[in-house]
Point group: C2
Chain length 344, copies 2
């Protein structure tokens, strides 16, 4: 039900996904009337492969996460995450309120043993392909241990969904030299060096888009600023380019000739293809779609969820964390079976 | 002498500047033989308006700032900053080792009363014009008070060089809501609200390039990541655009037609026009040019130095700091006349 557009986007995305992927079933969670109306408008009806799970409440995009968690126990978000906990669903995909999604998922699913805090990982395009960056805003005051955990989770995500045995991990810093950076980052570099990960070392902001490493580790504050700043640059450049093409009759003529090039360029950096941030470190798979996603973008978020389930990501993260040095396992989390290990 | 190219860039930039600005004199500091050879190659000789000040040492771009400060007391950088301290020069422009420049400038010139740490401010292009961002890497572990000081210095810089009476100041955060952000940023927001500055409130990464505020305040770690990330995005997009224009005969034809547009676009975002970071908070004006600057770019750094001298920036910052609430003035700096107040 969530996101800026609600079922008008999520329902058609689910229908499209279902029609092209015969091995996946989808449960639509929310106000049944609204969902069924949307299904009908696409000449679709609930079926065993796409059933509707009723939830009587909806969390607003601006609602306080804490209040939503306490007050709306029958929200579509909460019910969907409950389905993951019970094993009825293997993943939850939501375009809703980010803070509420993180708080609810953390409260209901709990973190994996050895993981203190969940982290949000996104995929970003690079000159060479793409890279995974985490955290993107779930954690704003991180310790070195948290950054280490992000490194482990990010590397495991990449090896699970991309079949890379030893993904390289870079630590976002303000210089490649070991002496640079703030205290937390310097300590994190030491932990990462001893972690058994394929740790590349410090990288700088421009390395994200150079594709220097498969995984980029940073705290949620820095990651969020980097992501939003990137959006800002891309937006400004696209406005400048459009303005230059519209400057006079001659440039307008050039723009006509260049249309196929500009279209190919835009397709290549289309952020919708990168929609779907992975909430990592929980005992269940949760994907956060951008709130303003359209149905194409939301489809990519669904595909990401399926990739993570298929890649056995939860199991891999648990195994990977268990191999880490002792200091890393002093976590308050207790061990219980993972959602994906239990029968569906 | 500093930077990746040394006098091959800085000397012609100085000559060009001098020829088009009759009211400015320039002192070239460094190894006299090298500088004079470069002057001769441009058919120029030392003159009262462009004299050479000998310095026997050069600090390498990768040298440790601490070692450079202790060991090279006759480096071109140190001698140039000494000239600012003695009042012989009103500003120093260097393309050299950033860490060494900050350490030397801080040691020789000292901070202004009320300012704990110098900060690096850069100008970035925005959709509406440009904005000043600080800190860009001089300070990686900042307190809320430091961020407040950055706000004051940034606002004063803008009002000094751009004649804006009340420049707006934004605090870089990960959400516009007051509850968001890490602890330091939340406290900084409170201090900025009570500072008498035209405080806009929290802004996000994309607001930098939207031009939401005249000044963007952040700690040096975040600022450096934001800047480098921006460079990375711009570089990636430009590579993608070039690749699309080179894809086949048709797109190559389109690129020929679009040449004037692409050129205008590139001119508009030419980073050389934004070269020259201001090292703020010291008892003297110091401008850091990008190490890889060419002579056009270095000329912009010289122009920035002149603008700051002419705008009376040092005096304005001192006055502005004196007006701040008491807690802000508990600085270890003691008061002595500013370089620009003393006779030349």
């Amino acid at each position: 039900m969530g996101g800026d557009h609600g079922p008008r986007v999520t329902v058609p995305a689910a229908i499209n996904y279902l029609q092209s992927h015969s091995e996946t079933d989808i449960i639509l969670v929310g106000l049944p009337d609204v969902i069924e109306l949307e299904l009908r408008s696409h000449k679709f009806a609930p079926s065993p492969r796409m059933r509707v799970q009723a939830a009587s409440e909806v969390i607003g995009m601006d609602e306080s996460p804490a209040l939503a968690l306490r007050g709306k126990k029958n929200s579509s978000m909460r019910v969907a995450i409950n389905l993951v906990k019970s094993g009825e669903a293997q993943a939850c995909v939501s375009a809703g309120n980010t803070g509420a999604l993180i708080a609810t998922a953390r409260f209901v699913l709990k973190t994996l043993p050895g993981i203190d805090r969940p982290a949000l990982a996104v995929v970003l395009p690079t000159i060479r392909g793409h890279t995974y960056v985490l955290d993107l805003g779930a954690n704003v005051d991180c310790t070195a241990e948290h950054l280490l955990q992000f490194g482990v989770m990010g590397a495991t995500l990449v090896s699970s969904v991309e079949n890379k045995e030893k993904p390289s991990v870079g630590l976002l810093n303000i210089g490649e030299e070991e002496i640079k950076g703030n205290e937390v980052v310097k300590q994190a570099a030491e932990l990462l060096r001893d972690s058994g990960l394929n740790f590349y070392g410090n990288i700088e902001g421009n390395d994200i888009y150079k594709g220097t490493t498969d995984v980029v580790v940073c705290d949620g504050f820095v990651g969020n600023v980097a992501l939003k700043t990137s959006e800002g640059v891309a937006q400004m450049l696209s406005i400048f380019l459009r303005e230059e093409f519209r400057r006079n009759l001659l440039t307008r003529f050039a723009s006509l000739i260049a249309i196929p090039v500009i279209k190919a360029f835009k397709r290549r950096i289309d952020h919708r293809r990168y929609n779907g941030a992975s909430l990592l470190g929980l005992r269940g798979i949760v994907i956060k779609s951008h709130g303003s996603a359209d149905s194409l973008a939301f489809g990519f978020a669904i595909a990401r969820a399926v990739d993570e389930v298929r890649g056995g990501m939860l199991r891999h993260i648990s195994e990977r964390v268990a191999q880490l040095p002792h200091h890393f396992k002093n976590s308050s989390s207790y061990h219980r079976p993972l959602a994906e290990e239990r029968p569906a």
